[in-house]
C-alpha cells in the first residue's frame, strides 16, 4: 500500500514536468523589435532597444528578479552597509570570466564604476554618462578592498543605491575591452553574461551567441538575433508568418488581433511606469488644493484606458505602480464625478471664465501612446466640469525646457520608473528639492515641506519595513494635496511564438533570456 502511495505521488510530481515538455538546448531565437540599438555600453544607454540587447551580454553586481522588481545577487554574492550608512561593501563572485577571457574581479568593478563618476579616470572621456544621477551619482568613491571585495562610499546615507546598482546603467565590463575599444566599446560590448556579442549590422540585426563558459546555468538557446522591424504592421506579419519568434511593441489593435487568433502566446503584466497630468501649483488658478482635487474628479480614467489604451493599462491613483513595493493601496481614488468637481470648484471660488493651458506631449511613450488625443479627451472632461482649457503643443526639446521652467498651467508627462524604488518617483518627481526652476523635474512645482522631509528621511533608512511606513505616509500627503492627476500605468505585453518556453517578463519589460528555450 505504501509503495503504491509513493508511486502515485511520484507520478503526480513528474507528470506536470513531462506535460510541460523538457527544456531543450539549441536553436535560434529571432526577436523582432521596433528599432536598432544605439549603444550596448549600457552605462551610456538611455533607449529601450539598447538595454534589451545589452542586458543579454552584460551583468551587474545585483539584479532584479526574473518576473519582479525585487533585488537579487548577480556578480556580487553578498553585501553589507556600514553602521553610518555610508559604505557599501560587496563580496564578489569568484571564478567568473569575461567573454574575452579577462578574469572578473574588483578591478573590473572599479573601472566600470569609476569611469562614470571620476573625471580623472582614464575611461571617463569615453562616454557621456547621461543618467549618472540615476545610477552612481551619489557615490563619491569606489575602493578596492581586495581582489574580490569592493566598497562604494556615498555622499550621504542613501538606501536606493542597491536598486540603482540593479539598473542597466551599472554594468560591469571587461577592463581590457574598455581600454581597447575606448569610446567604441558600445559597439563591441564585452561582459560576463549568458550570451556573448557576435555581430551588429546597423539598422538590421544584432547577433548574440551562447556563452559556453558562463559561470551560472548556461543559456538554452544557441543564438539570439535581434532584428529591427520599424513598421508595427510588418512586425505583426513577421510574427504571423513565423519569420520572428517574438514581436515587441505591437500596437493595441495588433495585440488584440493576436489574442483573437489564439495562435501565439501572450504575457501581460502591469508595468512600473506612470503617465500623469501635473498641475503647476505656483499658478494662482491652481494654488488651491480643492481646484486640483476637482480636476482629479473631472477626468474619467476608465474611458481613457478603454479608448486610448484599448484596455492595455490600469488606472493610477498613486505616483507609482502597484508592482513596486511601498504602494499604498488603502488610498481611495478620486472617483470620476463632474458634480463633485463642480462643487469643489465652487467652494474654491474658481474663476470659470479663466482659460488654463493644457500642454500636450509631442512624443508618444508607453504611458502616453497618443498624447494629443489624450489631451483632447482631458480637455473635454475639464469642459464638462466647467473648466476651459487650451491645448498647447511644443517641440519635445522646448516642451521639456519650458515645463521645467514652470511656464505651463497643466502638462502631461510620465516616468518609466527607473530603478523601481519608490524614492525614484516620490523624491525624484515630487520633492521640493526637485521643484527648483530652471530644470525642475517636479513639474507641478509642488513644494510640500512635510512630504519632502519624509522622502529625505526614507533615503537614509536601510530597513525596508521602516521605509515602507514612511512612503505610505508620503502617498497620503500627495493624495490630499493632489499636485498631479495620476492617469495610468500601462501594461507591458510580450507576444511570442508558442514554440518558446520560460519566456520571462519583468514589469519594466527588460529581461535576460538565459532560461528561454525553443521547441525543435
Amino acid at each position: 500500500m505504501r509503495k503504491w502511495a509513493i508511486l502515485i505521488m511520484l507520478a503526480l510530481i513528474v507528470w506536470p514536468a513531462l506535460a510541460a515538455g523538457q527544456a531543450v538546448t539549441g536553436g535560434t531565437l529571432i526577436w523582432g523589435r521596433g528599432g536598432d540599438s544605439v549603444s550596448l555600453d549600457l552605462a551610456n544607454a538611455t533607449d529601450g532597444e539598447s538595454i534589451k540587447a545589452g542586458i543579454q551580454v552584460l551583468e551587474n553586481l545585483v539584479i532584479f528578479g526574473k518576473n519582479s522588481m525585487d533585488v537579487e545577487p548577480q556578480l556580487a554574492e553578498s553585501w553589507k552597509v556600514s553602521d553610518d550608512g555610508l559604505t557599501w561593501t560587496f563580496k564578489l563572485r569568484k571564478g567568473v570570466k569575461f567573454h574575452d577571457g579577462t578574469p572578473f574581479n574588483a578591478k573590473a568593478v572599479y573601472d566600470s564604476f569609476a569611469r562614470v563618476i571620476d573625471k580623472n579616470h582614464p575611461f571617463y572621456s569615453f562616454g557621456k554618462w547621461k543618467y549618472v544621477n540615476m545610477s552612481l551619482g551619489m557615490v563619491n568613491e569606489v575602493k578596492i578592498i581586495d581582489d574580490y571585495t569592493i566598497a562604494l562610499v556615498t555622499q550621504k546615507p542613501y538606501a536606493p543605491l542597491l536598486n540603482n546598482l540593479a539598473l542597466w546603467l551599472c554594468p560591469i565590463l571587461s577592463p581590457k575591452a574598455m581600454e581597447q575599444y575606448k569610446d567604441q566599446i558600445g559597439l563591441n560590448p564585452v561582459g560576463t553574461g549568458p550570451f556573448k556579442f557576435v555581430k551588429w549590422v546597423k539598422d538590421d540585426q544584432i547577433i548574440l551567441e551562447r556563452n559556453n563558459d558562463y559561470w551560472g546555468e548556461k543559456a538554452k538557446l544557441d543564438r539570439i538575433i535581434l532584428k529591427s522591424i520599424p513598421e508595427p504592421s510588418a512586425r505583426l506579419m513577421a510574427l504571423q508568418s513565423g519569420t520572428v519568434d517574438i514581436a515587441d511593441d505591437l500596437d493595441p489593435d495588433s495585440i488584440n488581433l493576436v489574442k483573437k487568433e489564439g495562435k501565439h502566446a501572450i504575457i501581460e503584466r502591469p508595468s512600473i511606469n506612470v503617465g500623469y497630468l501635473a498641475m503647476n501649483t505656483e499658478k494662482p488658478a491652481l494654488k488651491d488644493p480643492r481646484v486640483r482635487q476637482a480636476i482629479n474628479h473631472a477626468i474619467d480614467k476608465a474611458t481613457l484606458i478603454k479608448t486610448i489604451f484599448q484596455g492595455l493599462a490600469i488606472p493610477a491613483k498613486n505616483p507609482f505602480a502597484p508592482s513596486i513595493w511601498g504602494y499604498n493601496d488603502s488610498i481611495k481614488e478620486y472617483e470620476y464625478s463632474p458634480e463633485k468637481a463642480k462643487k469643489l470648484l465652487a467652494e474654491a471660488k474658481f474663476d470659470m471664465n479663466m482659460e488654463l493651458e493644457l500642454w500636450a506631449m509631442p512624443v508618444s511613450r508607453a504611458y502616453m501612446p497618443d498624447p494629443v488625443k489624450t489631451a483632447e479627451l482631458i480637455q473635454a472632461y475639464l469642459a464638462a466640469a466647467g473648466i476651459k482649457a487650451k491645448i498647447v503643443r511644443q517641440e519635445w526639446g522646448a516642451y521639456i525646457e519650458k515645463t521645467s521652467n514652470g511656464l505651463h498651467d497643466m502638462c502631461m508627462f510620465g516616468w518609466l520608473g527607473g530603478n523601481a524604488d519608490p524614492d525614484n518617483f516620490l523624491y525624484g518627481l515630487l520633492s521640493a528639492d526637485m521643484a527648483k526652476t530652471p530644470g525642475a523635474a517636479n513639474v507641478a512645482l509642488w513644494k510640500n515641506a512635510e512630504y519632502t522631509e519624509i522622502c529625505l528621511k526614507a533615503q537614509k533608512i536601510f530597513d525596508k519595513g521602516e521605509r515602507t511606513k514612511l512612503y505610505m505616509k508620503a502617498q497620503e500627503i500627495f493624495h490630499a494635496d493632489a499636485p498631479w492627476v495620476p492617469l495610468v500605468h500601462s501594461t507591458v505585453v510580450r507576444c511570442y511564438s508558442k514554440k518558446l518556453h520560460d519566456v520571462p517578463l519583468r514589469p519594466n519589460g527588460l529581461n535576460s533570456f538565459q532560461m528561454v528555450w525553443k521547441e525543435k
Binding site: 557621456k128 544621477n133 567604441q184 547577433i207 526639446g397
Partner: protein, 335 residues
C-alpha cells in the same frame, strides 16, 4: 569636347557642394530643438547641458562651427554621430550601398516594364492593351507605397509564403563584401544559392519602390512615342520595308528616348532619397531611415553629411543624363 565639358561640370559640382553644405547647415540650426537637450532628456541639469554643448562645439558661433565642419570634411572626416558615437563615414557607407542596391533594382524594374508598357500602348493606341496599361500606370502612380508594401507582404509572405518579407539575405548566406551590393557580392563569390536568395529578398521592396517611377516612365514613353511615330523618318523606315520591330525599336524608340532619359535620371535621384518608406516597411537597413532617425535627434553632423552625399549623387546622375543625351542624339553638341 566631352573632357572639357566634364571637367567644367565637375567644377560646378564643387560649387553645388558648397551651396548645399551652407544651406543644410543653416536650415538644421533653424529647426527648433536643442541637440544637447534631446540627447540628455528630461532629467538633465543645466550644468550637464552646458558641458555637452561645449563638448559638441554647439557653444561656438555658426561661422566657427561651419569652418570646423568644412575643415574636417576636406580632411575626409565626416565627424562622429552624437546619437551613436560612431564615426559617420562608417555609419553612412554600408547604409548608402544598401539604398543604392535597392534603388538600382527598382530602377531596372521600372525602366524595363515602364518602357515596354509605354511602347506597347503607343503602338497599339486606343486598343484594350493601351487602355489597360495606362489604367495600371494611373493606379501605380496613385497607389500609396505604404499600403502597397504591406499588402504585398501580406499576400506573398504571410498568406502564400513564397517571398521573404524583410532583410537583404538569409542569415548565414552572406558573401564577403566586395562591392557592398549583396546581389553582386554573392555573384562574385560564385555562390549561386545565395545570389538567388538575395534576389528574392530584393524583389518585394524593389518592386514596391518601382511602382511610381514605372508608371511615370510608361506614360512619358507612350506620349513621346506617339509624337515620333507620325514623323517622316518613321514612315520612310516603314516604306523601305524594314521589319516593324526594327522600325519601332531603332527608329522610333531611340528618337523618343530623350525625354525618357531625363525622367529616368530624375527618378533615380528621387528613389535614392525617397526610399525611406520602403526601407521602413521592409526593414531594409538603408540611408533613408538613417537620415530620418538622425534628423529626429538633431544629429547635425550626420544629417549634413547625408544630404551632401545625396546632392553629389543627384548632380552626378544629372551629368550622366546629359552625357547620355550626346550618345543618343548626335545633333546635341555642347560648346
Amino acid at each position: 569636347m566631352p573632357l572639357g565639358y566634364i571637367s567644367r561640370r565637375l567644377f560646378h559640382l564643387l560649387l553645388i557642394m558648397v551651396g548645399v553644405s551652407v544651406l543644410v547647415f543653416l536650415m538644421l540650426r533653424m529647426i527648433p530643438g536643442d541637440p544637447a537637450r534631446l540627447l540628455l532628456g528630461e532629467l538633465a541639469s543645466p550644468d550637464e547641458l552646458a558641458r555637452l554643448r561645449t563638448q559638441l562645439g554647439l557653444d561656438q558661433s555658426y561661422l566657427t562651427q561651419y569652418a570646423i565642419y568644412v575643415k574636417n570634411l576636406l580632411l575626409g572626416d565626416f565627424g562622429k554621430s552624437v546619437r551613436t558615437g560612431a564615426p559617420i563615414a562608417n555609419e553612412i557607407g554600408v547604409r548608402l550601398l544598401a539604398t543604392i542596391e535597392l534603388s538600382l533594382a527598382a530602377m531596372v524594374i521600372a525602366t524595363l516594364f515602364g518602357i515596354a508598357a509605354g511602347v506597347v500602348s503607343s503602338v497599339k493606341q486606343y486598343t484594350l492593351l493601351d487602355y489597360g496599361s495606362m489604367f495600371l500606370a494611373l493606379i501605380g502612380v496613385s497607389m500609396p507605397i505604404f499600403w502597397l508594401g504591406l499588402m504585398l507582404i501580406y499576400l506573398l509572405s504571410v498568406k502564400f509564403p513564397i517571398l521573404p518579407m524583410m532583410g537583404r539575405i538569409t542569415m548565414g548566406l552572406e558573401a564577403p563584401p566586395v562591392t557592398g551590393l549583396v546581389v553582386i557580392d554573392t555573384l562574385i563569390a560564385g555562390q549561386l544559392g545565395a545570389f538567388w536568395d538575395s534576389l528574392q529578398h530584393l524583389f518585394l521592396p524593389s518592386f514596391t519602390l518601382a511602382t511610381i517611377p514605372m508608371a511615370i516612365i510608361a506614360r512619358i514613353t507612350r506620349s513621346s512615342m506617339l509624337e515620333v511615330l507620325n514623323k517622316d523618318y518613321v514612315r520612310t523606315a516603314r516604306a523601305k520595308g524594314l521589319n516593324e520591330v526594327i522600325v519601332i525599336l531603332r527608329h522610333a524608340l531611340r528618337n523618343a528616348f530623350l525625354p525618357v532619359v531625363t525622367v529616368l535620371g530624375l527618378n533615380f535621384g528621387l528613389l535614392l532619397g525617397g526610399a525611406v518608406l520602403t526601407e521602413t516597411i521592409f526593414s531594409w537597413p538603408g540611408l533613408g531611415r538613417y537620415v530620418v532617425d538622425s534628423l529626429m535627434s538633431r544629429d547635425y553632423a550626420a544629417v549634413q553629411s547625408c544630404i551632401l552625399i545625396f546632392a553629389v549623387v543627384m548632380a552626378l546622375i544629372n551629368l550622366v543624363v546629359d552625357l547620355v543625351y550626346v550618345v543618343l542624339d548626335p545633333r546635341i553638341r555642347v560648346q
